[in-house]
Amino acid sequence: MTISDLYTIMPIVITAGAALFVLLCGPMLLSASLTAIGVTASAAAGLWAALGTPASTQAVSGLCFTPLARFLIPVFCFAAAVTLLLSHSYNERRGIKGEEFPATVLFALFALCVLPCATNMLILFLALESVSFAFYILVSMDLNRAESGEAGLKYLLMGAVAAAFTAFGFALLFTGSGTLQLSGALARPDNRAIISAGWGVILVGMAFKLSLVPGHLWTPDVYQGAPAPVSAFLSTSSKVAAAALLLILLALFPPMPELRVPLAALSVLSMVLGNLAALLQQNIKRMLAYSSVAHMGYLSLALLSGSRDGYAAVLLYGAVYTAMNLAAFGAISSLSIDEERELVTDYAGLGFTAPLRGGVLALAMISLAGIPPTAGFIGKFFIFYSAIKGGSIALAIIGILSAAASAYFYLRVVAQLYMHRSQAPAPRAVSLAEGLALCLASAMILVIGVYPGPLLKAIDTALQ
């Protein structure tokens, strides 16, 4: 390993170093400075990755700064930075103290940075599970609320089952291909049965991570129980990571016909059931959880197409979804008082009393509903475009229809914000960090919506 090798994996080094530093020196520092360190480290890692050039050789055994990593690491870093910014005042209000929180976020980020760099299945699996591990802790971080602990436990138990499936799937892929390396290992035709069995089992593991029906049942409980900033991070990064894992594997073992039927079923079920179940939810976090189910259904629709267009749509949607959910959960987190505002009706009139946060929440909802000129529209447009181009016309029609129906429950939030009088207790003033985080997320939504050119170009290079 040379110095230049080290440079290429610098984002990983930065995040790991920052995580350890925060954990070790945390007790001696103010919590504000810990957050500042975390945000700085995430920003630095993200910028480094975005400005770096992808390497063709491994930096260390099992890690290589791939073009995909160059695209995904900044997305993850953005999510982590926004989460840290949001969590500072949220944690103060909720009495979540100590250095564990920022350190765990940074550990999660570290694992997330490793994931797209992995060049063998073992690292890939370890990275994925480390991400989950960090999230188990983060979800149950709020010790004052029983739901938080319950959500953490549920997530852990379910995650363990999913991890078992994923590990088993990797083992089958290894058996079938004879190598753990992710480069050049092509499925041997005589082992096709083993490989497709491996795929099937991995798919179930990923259905859990992506909350695809029928692996979705944990989602509402966990989103509801977890602290809002954690839900923001969890609903974005862990999903994008799982989608990235599928992309990496798909690049290696080209899409097989066996994969189509189950993936199509998962996708349709998630789109339809997710949107329908969200239709009548009164709790905003549960509503967003079901919406997340539906959105991951759209995402797998693009995966299904098996074409370059489809994979580009997946990456685009990953970035778009990150921005949208960070904005939505960010606004929820920032609007919380002593308790979180749980019901949709708790947000009545907040568009007038808290214009910035109300506006961001409304923007996030409009974007989630896929209305132009927001990022959500561009993302959905490309997903359905790639699906139709890939020939899944029936699925695309179901998708577009269910997306059309979904406008109903997203707009209910907008209607509460702007078309009702405020009965809820007045929100506190927005803190600087929260304001920055919300502005960043909504700027992302608008910029991708109005001028997606640069992002599409970046995705194009990431897929090489």
Binding site: L153, K154, L157, M158, V161, A162, F165, S196, A197, G200, V201, L203, V204, A207, F208, P214, L217, W218, D221, E258, V261, L273, L276, A277, A278, L279, L280, R308, D309, A312, I366, I371, P372, P373, F381, F382, F384, Y385, I388, K389, A396, I397, I400, L401, A404, A405, A407, Y408, L411, R412, A415, Y418, M419, R421, P452, G453, L456, K457, I459, D460
Partner: protein, 669 residues
């Protein structure tokens, strides 16, 4: 001037942003209204400049594209932020900015003192921006952005009076119905793009490129599908059967909004879209037939409902649906010019009617307010005799009514008559032409009837207001009456740009040609040639045209006479009629129960399914089944007992079930 086209949508956007961000601090209504109206006026000036420059060019050079930047480029997909300037879009730009400006001006007076004054103008400007994007964009995606944008603004403005629950519901209904239509639009876009791309390697959504490659579109199932998908989009936005029910409910919004969005501009977007893509629609006789039939049916159906409504704005709303039906009828019979012409004249007189009704409501509201009456200021049964108190409103309203009724000499006559003639004489649907014409002619009679019923009930006869309230009734201020006068002027004279050939030859010996047809000729040239090249010939009979014109005028006069007889001469008769045929009256009054049918067929099942999936499926079925299984498992071993939550293993079980299913698929497929 063409280089400045980007200013047209940009000005209202800037106005919207200023009012949205700073409006709360500005507070001064004149400044807020001035910014909003001024920005639209600036766009209007630019649009005028473009119109004149376009007029100075020879006909065949009147298609100009201005690309600002490449918006999306990914693989074979490319979309620009770019503008298309041609006679069609120039006409639309003039209508949207011109009428838009008048309505902004009117709104300053109408919305005076309303809570959230700045918010109203922010939305209204945002709407204007979206609408201008829709009509000036040079590709389908940009049009779609505007298409969704106007839907969103319409939603926000319908729900503007949010203290009324019905307003919020109406907004939601409008939005969801529009989304169903948008789904069709998007599907049409994808299918068209994909079809041209894979079969002919032409990957484009640019209108000019599409028109150039129109020959590649071979008539057949695919083209028909594309057309019908787009038409589904149009039925949503333009309130046609089956997606029209949102428009009458949309009257919950402020009246200027009804005039701008739900009469003059947004609802005509569907007509514009078909006109813009006429070269595709002309390839599919099936789609044309569907459009013509839906248009004619809507024109007739909505007109029947209009005859029994008592809310002044609801009558106008059904009238709008009905008039939009005429425009689609024109599109469906290939008379694109006539359709766009009616779009324009309708924008004049319907905006005038809505603003007039707004002036009436405004006056009624103040009069009723004075005596603390709870009576509905929009109910015509509370009005009567208003012409003495509101002369300007009355006269402008009367002229617009004569125009819409189709009395010769005013704008509505020229456009409506052209459509009826084309419905009769067009070369596309020989078999059903008589039916189409008949439906249109009957609807014209009904239109004359319900419009004059409205006028008689509102402005004539003895007032049904109390003496005190009637005393307090007064004419609206100048910001309200000036736009009324302008629009009434246009309703009277706006039709003379498109005088039918037979009339012009008879009265002026052809010295006064049909300017409008000539102006739009290049836009529809392809369709005209295509029709001729395929040997389809319409009916050409001057005598017939005169005859039909006479019939339709007679029908209109009959409608007016009937209204006069029933509401002036024998005012007691309508009640006698309704008590004789109570079932018929109830059905018409309740809009043929279409809303109830939709609720029963679509809304309630969806809600029930959602409820089932949430409460039933997730909680009962999954947990129930799983609990049963889990109980058995628990009986076998105590291992699972440490899980105290009682739910987690159920969740895990669902996943195991999933694995089993997937494995089963592999084994048994």
């Amino acid at each position: 001037m063409f280089d400045l086209v980007w200013l047209i949508p940009l000005c209202p956007l800037i106005g919207s942003v200023i009012n949205g961000l700073l409006g709360k601090k500005i507070k001064n209504e004149t400044v807020i209204g001035g910014i909003a109206a001024g920005s639209v006026f600036a766009s209007f000036m630019v649009a005028c400049g473009i119109l004149f420059q376009l007029l100075s060019l020879p006909g065949e050079e009147r298609v100009i594209q201005k690309t600002i930047f490449t918006w999306i480029q990914s693989g074979t997909f490319k979309a620009d932020i770019g503008f298309l300037i041609d006679p069609l879009s120039a006409t639309m730009l003039m209508i949207v900015t011109g009428i838009g400006f008048l309505i902004h001006l009117y709104s300053i007076g109408y919305m005076h003192g309303e809570e959230g004054f700045y918010r109203y103008f922010c939305y209204l400007n945002l709407f204007t921006f979206s609408m201008l994007c829709l009509v000036s964009g040079n590709n389908l995606l940009l049009m779609f952005i505007g298409w969704e944008g106007v839907g969103l603004c319409s939603y926000l403005l319908i729900g503007y009076y949010f203290h009324k629950k019905s307003a919020g519901d109406a907004g939601k209904k409008a939005f969801v119905m529009n989304r169903v239509g948008d789904f069709g639009f998007l599907l049409g876009l994808f299918t068209l793009f994909y079809y041209l791309g894979t079969n002919h390697n032409v990957w484009t959504i640019n209108f000019v490129e599409l028109a150039k490659n129109a020959d590649l579109l071979v008539p057949g199932a695919v083209v028909t599908t594309v057309c019908l998908c787009f038409f589904l989009g149009a039925t949503g936005k333009s309130a046609q059967i089956p997606l029209y029910t949102w428009l009458p409910d949309a009257m919950e919004g402020p009246t200027p909004v009804s005039a701008l969005i739900h009469a003059a501009t947004m609802v005509t977007a569907g007509v514009y879209m078909i006109a813009r893509m006429n070269f595709i629609f002309i390839k599919s006789p099936t789609a044309l037939l569907v459009i013509a039939c839906v248009g004619a049916a809507t024109a007739l159906f909505a007109a029947t409902i209009g005859t029994a409504q008592n809310d002044i704005k609801r009558v106008l709303a059904y009238s709008t649906v009905s008039q939009l039906g005429y425009m689609f009828l024109a599109m469906g019979v290939g008379a694109f010019t006539a359709g766009v012409f009616h779009l324009m004249t309708h924008a004049f007189f319907k905006a005038c009617l809505f603003l007039g009704s707004g002036s009436v409501i405004h006056g009624m509201h103040h009069a009723l307010h004075h005596e603390h009456s709870e009576a509905d200021p929009q109910d015509m049964r509370n009005m009567g005799g208003l012409r003495k108190k509101m002369p300007v409103t009355f006269w402008t309203f009367l002229f617009a009514t004569i125009a819409i009724a189709g009395i010769p000499g005013l704008a509505g006559f020229f456009s409506k008559d052209e459509i009826l003639w084309q419905a009769f004489a067009n070369p596309h649907h020989h078999a059903v032409n008589y039916v189409l014409w008949g439906a249109g002619a009957i609807a014209a009679g009904l239109t004359a009837f319900y419009m004059f019923r409205l006028v008689f009930m509102t402005f004539f006869g003895q007032t049904r207001l109390s003496e005190k309230a009637f005393h307090h009734l007064h004419e609206s201020p100048w910001v309200i009456t000036v736009p009324l006068v302008c629009l009434a002027f246009l309703s009277i004279f706006g039709g003379y740009v498109g005088v039918p050939k037979v009339l012009s030859e008879f009265f002026t010996g052809g010295a006064f040609p049909n300017y409008f047809e000539h102006w739009l000729e290049p836009v529809f040239a392809y369709s005209t040639h295509y029709t001729e090249a395929h040997g389809a010939h319409g009916l050409h009979s001057v005598a017939m045209e005169w005859g039909l014109m006479g019939v339709s005028v007679l029908i209109a006069c009959g409608g007016i006479a009937l209204a006069f007889a029933l509401y002036i001469v024998a005012p007691g008769f309508p009640e006698k009629f309704t008590s004789t045929f109570p079932a018929l009256h109830r059905a018409v009054y309740n809009k043929w129960y279409v809303d109830e049918i939709y609720d029963f067929a679509f809304v309630n099942p969806c809600k029930a399914l959602g409820n089932f999936l949430w409460k039933g499926f997730d909680v009962l079925v999954v947990d129930g089944i799983v609990n049963g299984v889990a109980a058995v498992v628990r009986g076998f071993s105590g291992i699972l007992r440490y899980v105290q939550t009682g739910f987690v293993h159920n969740y895990a079980f669902t996943m195991v079930f999933g694995v089993a299913l997937i494995v089963a698929v592999y084994i048994f497929r």
